[in-house]
């Protein structure tokens, strides 16, 4: 069995070298397919990281009227902390809000003068509420519509963040669908190219195949070099895709990080999950190529 496998592998490698240009063209198309799939994967990772980044910073600011006392504020905080959806509640007192405003507009004489003309502290206390998940904010906001508290609350601010997330999702969804389409097209082209390569291989080796049949080679032995060749194409394309993707990621990652203002960890993600990512891609490609090879053999290899 081992000897037969070794010889079938040897014939597969011979087939590869005897039609080296055809083989290289096939591997190139497989490589393009894998690169398009990996670009899609990078996009997914970046989108996920971007959304997580935004979600981690999403909070609801609950603005209270200046008249609300510290005890009343504490009761709202206690109530919010009983909610399982709430991760954290930060209290910004009226004095702190005033101080922050003054710091923010330090150089703006006009605003500071207006503040002085007002004569007191125009700010009420504010609660900054963080949730475990962005979907929980609707519940938290509706919980704040509690009859005991709604008279104290001037405003609840959340909508902007949802817009940002929606905008990220909408734009990446468009690119993602384009990526799916492109990858699907490449996969189809890949299958056709492999089909044609096997067809050419069968034609070129027709004499050898005829002799194999004549001297008693099993149909498995005659077919297996073509299947192994398909696996070889997939393996080479996967290795090349990994080898090309790594330096590209090293170049792209700082720019993506700078854009999002955070560490996306793209390269680390691909290194940590490389075995699954490239192993999976190799298996997918090998399976597709073996199916295309089987069809080509059924059509052109008469045993």
């Amino acid at each position: 069995m081992f000897i037969a496998f070794y010889r079938a592998s040897k014939f597969a490698v011979q087939n590869f070298w005897r039609n080296v240009w055809l083989s290289l063209m096939t591997v190139s198309i497989l490589l393009l397919t894998l690169l398009s799939i990996n670009v899609l994967l990078v996009l997914n990772v970046v989108t996920d990281r971007a959304i997580t980044y935004v979600e981690q910073r999403v909070d609801v600011s609950v603005y209270f009227y200046e008249t609300v006392t510290e005890d009343q504020l504490t009761s709202v905080v206690s109530y919010l902390r009983t909610l399982t959806q709430v991760k954290d509640v930060q209290v910004v007192t009226a004095q702190e809000a005033l101080a922050r405003f003054q710091t923010q507009h330090e150089g703006d004489e006009e605003i500071l003068q207006s503040l002085n003309e007002y004569g007191g502290n125009p700010f009420g206390s504010t609660l900054v509420v963080q949730a475990y998940h962005v979907d929980d904010f609707d519940f938290i906001i509706s919980a704040l519509d509690h009859p005991d508290y709604e008279e104290w609350i001037r405003e609840k601010d959340f909508s902007n963040y949802q817009d940002i997330i929606n905008s990220i999702e909408a734009s990446t969804d468009r690119v993602r669908w384009f990526g799916y389409g492109l990858s699907g097209l490449f996969l189809l082209i890949t299958a056709l190219i492999v089909f044609n390569t096997v067809r050419m291989g069968i034609f070129i080796h027709r004499e050898e195949i005829g002799i194999m049949r004549l001297v008693g080679a099993s149909s498995w032995f005659i077919r297996s070099p073509f299947l192994l060749e398909a696996i070889l194409y997939s393996f080479l394309a996967t290795v090349l895709a990994g080898a090309l993707l790594y330096p590209i990621l090293l170049q792209v990652e700082p720019k993506v990080d700078a854009y999002f203002g955070s560490v996306t960890g793209l390269t680390v993600y691909f290194i940590q999950n490389g075995l699954w990512i490239f192993g999976g891609q190799f298996l997918l490609l090998a399976l597709l190529n073996m199916i295309a090879t089987t069809f080509a053999m059924r059509r052109y290899l008469k045993i």
Binding site: I3, A4, R7, I211, L214, V215, G216, A217, S218
Partner: protein, 226 residues
């Protein structure tokens, strides 16, 4: 050894290659199948190693009915039947030794066994000193002997030679026929398909004559009579 019962072969749509052919070849026999071109000789040879299947009738090889042989069993049959054709069917990029070894390699034979068998059969066919030459460096007769060596590596019980001397001159023809006779002396059943009158007449062996797809004569020590 070989038994054909009422076999017919009809190619689509209605070309009759063989019609109700019945014959029985004993183990160790040397049989010439003769006839003019297009009479069905090669079709009969192809039926013997399951390259073709009969439309009707039964073919038994050593008691094994191969008329409806499943594809998976064909390699097993072919390792028991050595086949030689007029066109040599050698791989031009392989040496003589590699061409002969190829038959064993594709059958999953161990390298040690291949290293033993290949020089043996090359010596039998008189090419012991040509193992490293390429087919284009050999004469037509030598090339045909390589093909015979390749067919012998499985130690077949039956040897089917379809016009093995068709491309050879008189001297090489004589050498190939002598080689087939030697193979027959070892106990192998030889079926020689030919339309070479001199060869058949010189052999003085059993001759089966086919005409228009039918056996018209079967003579124990026959001559070419068409």
């Amino acid at each position: 050894m070989i038994r054909c019962k009422n076999i017919s072969k009809i190619y689509h749509p209605d070309i009759v290659a063989l019609k109700n052919v019945s014959l029985h070849i004993q183990p160790g026999e040397f049989v010439s199948i003769v006839g003019q071109s297009g009479t069905g000789k090669t079709t009969l040879a192809k039926l013997l190693f399951a390259e073709e299947r009969p439309t009707k009738g039964v073919i038994e090889i050593g008691g094994w009915d191969i008329s409806k042989i499943p594809n998976r069993d064909i390699p097993v049959l072919r390792r028991q039947i050595g086949v030689v054709f007029q066109d040599f069917k050698l791989l031009p990029k392989k040496t003589v030794g590699e061409n002969v070894a190829f038959a064993l390699e594709v059958s999953g034979e161990r390298p040690k066994r291949i290293a033993e068998v290949v020089p043996q059969v090359l010596r039998i066919v008189g090419l012991g000193d040509r193992a490293h030459r390429y087919p284009h460096q050999l004469s037509g007769g030598e090339q045909q002997r390589v093909v015979i060596a390749r067919a012998l590596v499985h130690r077949p019980k039956i040897f089917v030679a379809d016009e093995p001397t068709g491309n050879l001159d008189t001297l090489n023809t004589r050498e190939i026929i002598d080689l087939l006779l030697r193979i027959n002396e070892f106990g192998t059943t030889v079926v020689l398909v030919t339309h070479n009158r001199e060869v058949v007449n010189a052999l003085k062996k059993r001759v089966i004559t086919i005409d228009h797809g039918e056996v018209v004569s079967d003579v124990e020590e026959g001559r070419y009579r068409i």
